[in-house]
C-alpha cells in the first residue's frame, strides 16, 4: 500500500465526497485524508521535508481549523477564521513552504461561487473547482484527475 502513489484530500466532510474518493481509488491511488487545517499542515510539512509525497492535493476552501479534541483544550477567546482555511493552506504550501506545482499539484474545491476566493486561488495558480459533479459525462474535476492522476493498474483491482 505504501508504495502506491497517494492523493492528499483536505476536507472535514469526506462523507459528502465519497464519489470523488471512489474515482481516485479507481485510478489506483491511495487517499490520505486531513480533516482540518492543523492536520493538513503536518502532512504538507512532511512533503517539504521529503518524508511524504502526493501525486495531487485536493483542498476544500473551507475546512475545520483543528480536531475537536484539540479545540476543547483551547481558551474560550481563541478564534481563527475558518472561512478561508483552504486559501491559507495553499499560500502556506506555495509561499511559505515553497513547494512548487510540479512537486505538488493542488486543486481546490468549493461549494460557493465566491469571487474573492477565486481571485486568491488564481493568484496562487491553483484551479478552483466546484464540489458538485459536472452535468456531462466528464467534468472539470475529471480533467484534473486525468492530468495529474494517470490510471495505475492495481494488483488488487
Amino acid at each position: 500500500m505504501s508504495d502506491s502513489p497517494r492523493v492528499l484530500v483536505v476536507d472535514d466532510q469526506v462523507g459528502d465526497i465519497e464519489w470523488l474518493l471512489d474515482r481516485i481509488l479507481y485510478r489506483g491511488y491511495e487517499i490520505v485524508v486531513a480533516t482540518n487545517e492543523r492536520a493538513a499542515r503536518k502532512r504538507l510539512d512532511a512533503v517539504k521535508k521529503g518524508e511524504e509525497s502526493y501525486a495531487l492535493a485536493i483542498v476544500d476552501v473551507m475546512v475545520a481549523i483543528m480536531d475537536l479534541a484539540d479545540l476543547v483544550t483551547l481558551d474560550e477567546e481563541f478564534f481563527v477564521e475558518s472561512r478561508d482555511t483552504g486559501i491559507r493552506l495553499c499560500r502556506y504550501v506555495r509561499e511559505e513552504l515553497g513547494i512548487s506545482p510540479n512537486e505538488l499539484p493542488i486543486v481546490s474545491l468549493t461549494v460557493r461561487d465566491d469571487p474573492e476566493v477565486k481571485a486568491a486561488m488564481e493568484e496562487l495558480g491553483i484551479p478552483l473547482v466546484s464540489r458538485e459533479p459536472g452535468g456531462g459525462p466528464a467534468d472539470l474535476l475529471d480533467e484534473y484527475l486525468e492530468r495529474h492522476l494517470p490510471r495505475i493498474a492495481r494488483s488488487s483491482a
Binding site: 464519489w19 479507481y26 476543547v72 481563541f78 475558518s82 459525462p137
Partner: protein, 842 residues
Amino acid sequence: MLVHALATEMARRESLSLPKGLERLAQIAGRLAGVEGAMVVAYDDDGYPLTAGSYRLLLGGGRSLLEAIDLLRQDLTGSVPSWKSVNGLLSGKATGQPVMARPVSIDSTVQGLLVVRIDEGRCEGRAALEALEALSVLFAAAIRCALRSEVWGRRDALQVLAKRELDSIEPDLHRVVTQLAELFQATATTLLLEEQGELRLAASTDPTLGREERVVYERGEGLTGHVFATGQSLRLNDSTNHAEVRRQTGLDRKGPRHPERDRQGATTVQFLGVPIRWGEQVHGVLRMSRTRGEARFTSEDEHTLQFFADLLGIALAHAWDLLLAECIRESVSVPMAVSRRETPIGKQPVPRIILANPGAEKLLGRSRTQLCGLDAREMYAPSAYEEFKPGLLAAFRVALSKGRGEHGPVLTRIQRPDGTQCWLEMSFRILANRRVQPPVFYTIGVARDMTEREQQAAQHRGLMEMLDEMGLAYFRSDMQGVTLESGAAESRVTGYPRNEMIGLNRTLLYPSHRDRKILIDRAICRGGRLVSARQQLRRKDGTRFWAEGDLRVLIDAEGNPRGVEGLYRDVTDRLQLQGFVNARTDKVLMDDELFAKLKENAEFHLDYMSSLGHQLLTPLSSLTGNLRNLERGHLDERRIRERLPYIIGQARVCTRLVRNLSYMDKVLRGEPFHRETVSMARLAIETKLDFLHLLKENRLELHIDDASLNRNLPIHGHREMLRQVIVNLVDNAIKYSLPESTITIRGKYRRREGRVFEITSRGLPIPEQIREEIFKRGFRSNKAKMKVPHGTGLGLWLVRKIVEAHGATINCREIFENEQRYNLFRIIFPHPNADASSRRSR
C-alpha cells in the same frame, strides 16, 4: 277739674282718630256747668277746618258740617278772639239758647274753634264762658296734640302697610291703593306707573276708571301728568277752580281727563298727587281725591303720602331690578337683548328692542344705538321669526297669567345688515309688567351663536369622510348599545347597510353578549379615557373578523356615562399577514414594526432557502457523483454493494428535506398542523440508521435507550417535524462530539414537568452565557465555526421552533456522569392537563 281733664287728654297714650279725639274734648267742655252742648273744631296747617267733634251740639242748616264750620271760620276771621254769638249759622230748630264760638290759638296760630251752647238764663252759663275763655290755650294745645297723634298714627299705619305689601316682588297694588284710601279717607286713590315714557293705570279704588278708555297720561298732561313731569307733589282744594289750577301749575286746564268719582258718581274736585320717585327718575304718580265739602287735603297729608310714595318707588324699582337680574343670572350665554311689545293705538303690537348687551351687538352686527328701537323681528332671516312665533305667543299667554313665560331654545337664523346669516340657538324669557294696564311684555332674548357648532358639524362631516377613506369605522351609541351614529366604513366592514346600522344594537356585532359588556365595563372603569381593544366581531352574514381600535365612554355634565363612541378597523388581513411573517398576532403592529418584521422574515427566508439549498446540494451532489461513477463502471461489484445503501440514503435525505419544506413553513407561521401519536424511540432508531455512516466515520457511538423512550415518550405530534428535531440534535452531537465518545438518547417521566426527551454527548463545552443564544437563528459560537465552517446556525433554532409548536420547551445544560462532562439537550413535553390547568389558573 277742667284743667286736669285737658291735661289727661293730652297725655293719653292710646291714639284715637282725630274726630274721636275732638269729640272727647267737646265732652270735656260740654260737662262744664252751664254748658248745654259743645263742639271742638280742628284747623289744618293752612287754617282751614279739618274736622270736628261735638257734644250735644249740631251745626248745619242744610249745609255739610265742614261747610257750616267754614262759614263760622270766615265769620270769626279778623275779629278779636273772643266769644261771639253764631246763632244765625245754626241748623235745626232754634232752641233759643245762644251758641257762642271763639277761635283757640297757641303760639299765635289759630288751631281750631270752640263752640258752646249755654243757658243764658243761668249765671253758670256766663261763668262757663269765662272759664273756657281762660283755658282756650289749653284747648288749642289739646287740638294740636290730637292732630299730631293722628299724623303719627297714620304714618305708623303707612309703615306697616309698606312693610306688608311692598316687601314682595310683585306687590298687590290694588290692595295698596284701597288701604291708602282708607287711611287718608280719600274718595278715590289711584296709582299710575311709567311705562314707555308715559303714565299708565296700575291700580285704582275707582272701578269706573279705565273702564271705557285706556288711562294714559303723557308727561305734563293734566294734573297727574304735571306731577309726573315735575316730580313735585300737587295739592288742590278745588281742581275745577281754573284760577287755582293756573296759579299752582301754570296749566290752562280744560277739565279732568280721567276723573275719579265718588259713590254717587260725582266727580271729585279735591286733588292730591305725589310722584313715585327712585333716584332722579319718576316712575309713577300716586294720587287721591275727595269730593267737595269733605275735609281738605292738608300739607300733612301731602307729606305723608309722599313719604309712602317714596317707599313705593324704592319697592317697585327694586322689584323690577330683581326680576331682570334674576333673568340675567339664569341666562347661560352672553348675547342678550331685551325687547318690549309695544302696541300703538289701533295698530298691531311691535316687539321693539330696548336693551342690548355687547354680546348681542357683536352677534347681530349692529351697534347698540342701531339696535334700540329696532323691530326685533327685523333681525331674523326671512321667515325665520314666523317659524317660532306660535311658540312665542303661547309663552306670552303664560306670562299674562303668571307674570313670566319661557320659550325655546329654538334653532333659528339671524340676518345681519351686511346680508350675512348666522345660526343661533335662541331662548326667550318673557316678563309681563302686570302693574300697568294693559300689561306690557318684555322679551329677553338669550342667544347662543351656533355658527361655531355648524362649523363643528361641517368639520365633523369632513372628519367622518376622511375616516371612511381611511377605512376607519366610527360609531357612537347609547349605553344600551343602540347605534346613534355610524360611518360609512362601518357599513363596509360589518356588512350592515347604513339604514340598518343606525339603531342597530351593537351587541349583535359581538360573538357573545358578554364580550361587549366586558369591554364597556373596562371603558367605564377608565372614566371617559380611551380604551384600546382588539376584539373579534361578527358581520351581518355571521362571518367573524378582527377589529382593533379605541373606544371611550361619553360622560355627561353630571359625570354619568351617557354613551359610547369609538373608532376601529378590520385588521383580519393584517393579523394574517403578521402571522404569515411570523410576527405576533395578539396585536396590530405599527407599520415600521411590521416592515422590520417583513424584512427580517425575507432575510430569514433567504437564509433558510440558502441553507436548505446547501443541505440539498450536498446529498444531491453525492448522489450524482455516485451514479456517474456507476455509469462509468468505476465501481466493482463489491463496492457497488457497499455504496448502494448509502446512495439510497442520500436520495431519502433529499426527499425528506423537500417534504419538510412544507411542514416547516407551517410551523414557522404558527399554523395548525396534523398530529398523531409518534414514537420517539422509533424516530431515534430510524435517525440512527441514517447516520450510521457518519457515526462510523467520526468513530462515535449512538446509544438509544429505547425502553425508556418507549415507556415515556409517545408524543402527540407531527412525525416528520419531530424527526427533524432528532435529526438536527443527532447531527449536531456528531459534528461536535469527541471521537470515540457516546451519544445517548433517552426518555424520562417527571411528575411535575411531564415527558422528557434527552440527548447527551461529550462535545464542545457550551458556556453558560450562550446556552440560550445557541437557539437563536444564525447564532454560531466561535468554536463551532472553527470546527464546522459550513454550518448555518439554523439547526437548533429550528429545533426550538418545532418543539414550541408542540407546546414543549427545550434547553441546554452541562451535566457530569462518571466524572465526565456532557452536553445535555432536554425537551420537556408538559402534561396536557397540567398545561390546561396552569393556563386556567393564569
